[in-house]
């Protein structure tokens, strides 16, 4: 069943809190400096995997949860049914904000936004990672280089600790109400983390999709019509000869 509930989210409670130091010594913000987010696109062709890894430093709290708010451009899509099956098999947690047309070409589609909840990477327990399968849409043919570049903007990163209270002392901070996890849809308060420094060199994550060559249109139409007509005539001739025998 589709467990990815369509969310009408929810940037309702966005508030800017004043910058005050909290009494929690460990969370003084220093561990945030060792925070890092890396992104990559795995595989080739029309079926890719968007991999986002949040590397938590050695002093970060144990029970830390992350939420990535990822926008996808119209050139790619995620398959809600595949996500549902991956949630069952691999524990992938993704929520979508709208319905997805699985077949439409890019030029009649809309982009979409998703909430991705990265989970602990068993190989590197300090890392939170999400591997989301994405699929390329067909694009308008072009007379250009034969590939269309699709850029995926970096996600917004939100954090929360287990007890659902704001824990980070960095200012200014943005709070957002969003589901606590992909399975638990009750609302938690999440705090946005700015990682501009880290993200700068990663900003242009992209993938190239092959597109048809518009300059061949006359050749292709003529060739197709010629071959199909020829085949049609040959078959008709064979039928005719068989009947008249």
């Amino acid at each position: 069943m589709v467990t990815n509930v369509l969310l009408c989210t929810v940037f309702l409670v966005v508030k800017i809190c004043g910058a005050t130091e909290t009494e929690e010594g460990d969370l003084s913000g220093k561990w945030l400096e060792s925070f890092k987010m890396t992104r990559a696109v795995w595989k080739m062709g029309f079926h890719r995997e968007l991999v986002t890894t949040v590397e938590c430093g050695p002093h970060s709290p144990e029970e830390l949860h992350a939420l990535l708010v990822q926008n996808l451009p119209r050139g790619v899509y995620v398959d809600p049914y595949q996500l549902a099956s991956l949630q069952q098999d691999a524990g992938l947690q993704v929520l979508l904000d709208s319905e997805v047309d699985l077949e439409a070409p890019a030029y009649v589609s809309n982009g979409l936004s998703m909430f991705v909840y990265p989970t602990r990477d068993p190989g590197h327990p300090r890392n939170l990672q999400a591997v989301v399968p994405i699929h390329g849409r067909y694009h308008r043919p072009s007379s250009g280089p034969g590939w269309e570049r699709i850029e995926i903007e970096p996600p917004r990163l939100f954090l929360r600790a287990n007890d659902c209270v704001p824990l980070l002392p960095v200012a200014p901070r943005v709070l957002m109400d969003a589901p606590c996890s992909g399975q638990n849809l009750s609302m938690c308060k999440w705090m946005e983390i700015q990682l501009t420094q880290v993200l700068q060199d990663q900003r242009h994550i992209s993938l190239d999709l092959p597109v048809g060559d518009q300059s061949l249109v006359v050749l292709v139409c003529a060739g197709t019509m010629l071959v199909t007509l020829l085949c049609c005539v040959l078959i008709a001739n064979a039928i005719w000869r068989h009947v008249s025998l």
Partner: protein
């Protein structure tokens, strides 16, 4: 008596063995789905099951995106939810066996020996393609059983049953609607003397054709078939509204899929998808298909099995969208055509190799496009044209080496 037993045993052992292999494949599929990354079960099967799930909740099956079939299928598969998730697969493999049994019946009805009939049936029963498709949960075998059921009933002159099955099969998948003309022609000519027909002037032939429409068999057949089809359509329209018509019928009629597929037209339709010539080109692509279907109906309606086979093969080869599951639509009729083909084993195998080679040549660039991101559109287009040329060559070989049944002999049997 012993001789009879030996034959019976051979027949039963073949059909039981074929069923057994398919059940083993289903069990293996459950295991592979649980343990491996690459799943055995076809994506369509999940679509059917999701749609059935909506039905059990009292909702429309069309809440499942990409469910483009009759609600009847989702209804049929509700035991997937209530009983076991492999129910549908068991139903499909059973249909596989049933269709072969119907083939067996038709071949035996033509006077073929039990052993020979079993031999031809084994081409379907032991065919890895049909085994794989039905045990992975693809519903094509359901259609194969309905189409073969229709043919079998027509051959045995059980026209009411044939009409019922035909109406049902057109409702399940739209493509058998092309059999309407050959069916009408065969019912119309059955009672008439055929001698000297070619010498009659065109005008009188047309008049005779129109008169033939008043034939009782024909009226009965199309009343029942049309009735079944209309009743089901009305029922489901009442239940699920416009969405049912859109997804079950209109989508397939209007389908203009620009993503790569076996069709020779794919690249042309992709490049012209937004052009103002799009509609005209779509029509131009439809004409060869229509002309050949008409011609094949007129030429071969007296041999319905061959006519349906040619119809489906032409329809699929010249269609604007073509995927590999469409090939099963005509392959299930092949065991009925083969016995009358005057081809040597070597020639037959040659054609088979050629057919697979055509698919292989298409699959290679398609793989590089889809999974490696290389721009192979032109190669896929050329491979699509080559595949059409190969299919044309095979069809011509079949037509020119086919020995049509002796109608006089047939009339004596009737």
């Amino acid at each position: 008596m012993d001789w009879m037993m030996a034959k019976l045993l051979r027949k039963w052992s073949l059909f039981t063995f074929a069923f057994f292999i398919r059940v083993v494949l289903i069990v293996f599929g459950v295991y592979q789905d649980k343990t491996m990354v690459v799943k055995y079960t076809d994506i369509d099967y999940h679509v059917f099951t999701d749609a059935s799930h909506f039905i059990t909740e009292g909702a429309s099956p069309y809440h499942r995106a990409t469910y483009r079939y009759t609600p009847l299928l989702a209804w049929l598969l509700t035991p997937n939810i209530y009983l076991t998730s492999v129910f549908g697969k068991l139903l499909f493999v059973t249909c596989d066996i049933v269709s072969s049994y119907l083939t067996y019946g038709i071949l035996r009805g033509r006077g073929m020996s039990c052993q020979a009939a079993c031999g031809y049936c084994s081409l379907w029963l032991l065919n890895p393609l049909s085994m794989g498709v039905s045990s992975r949960g693809n519903a094509e075998s359901l259609l194969a059983a309905l189409v073969l059921g229709t043919l079998s009933c027509v051959e045995r002159r059980r026209l009411a049953a044939a009409a019922f099955l035909y109406g049902l099969s057109v409702h399940m998948k739209i493509y058998p609607v092309t059999y309407a003309l050959p069916l009408a022609l065969s019912l119309q000519t059955r009672g008439q003397a055929k001698a000297g027909e070619t010498t009659i002037p065109m005008g009188r032939r047309v008049a005779r054709f129109l008169l033939g429409l008043l034939n009782r068999d024909l009226l009965q057949f199309f009343t029942i078939a049309g009735g079944v089809f209309s009743l089901l359509t009305l029922l489901f329209y009442h239940m699920y509204g416009w969405e049912f018509l859109q997804e079950t019928y209109l989508y397939h009629l209007m389908r203009r899929d620009i993503r790569h597929n076996f069709s020779p037209y794919f690249y042309m339709l992709y490049l012209t998808a937004e052009s103002r010539w799009s509609l005209a080109l779509g029509l131009a692509a439809f004409l060869p298909q229509l002309a050949l279907l008409l011609l094949a109906s007129l030429a071969f309606h007296s041999d319905l099995a061959l006519c349906c086979f040619l119809h489906t093969a032409i329809f699929v080869s010249f269609n604007k969208v073509c995927t590999s599951q469409y090939f099963l639509w005509y392959l299930c009729l092949l065991p009925l055509v083969l016995p009358r083909l005057m081809l040597s084993l070597k020639q037959g195998l040659g054609l088979l190799v050629l057919w697979f080679a055509g698919q292989g040549i298409w699959l290679a660039p398609a793989y590089y496009l889809e999974f490696e991101g290389q721009n192979t559109f032109v190669l896929i287009w050329l491979a699509g044209l080559l595949f059409l040329a190969i299919n044309t060559f095979i069809l011509i070989q079949i037509i020119s080496h086919y020995k049509q049944e002796d109608t006089q002999h047939r009339q004596k049997l009737d």
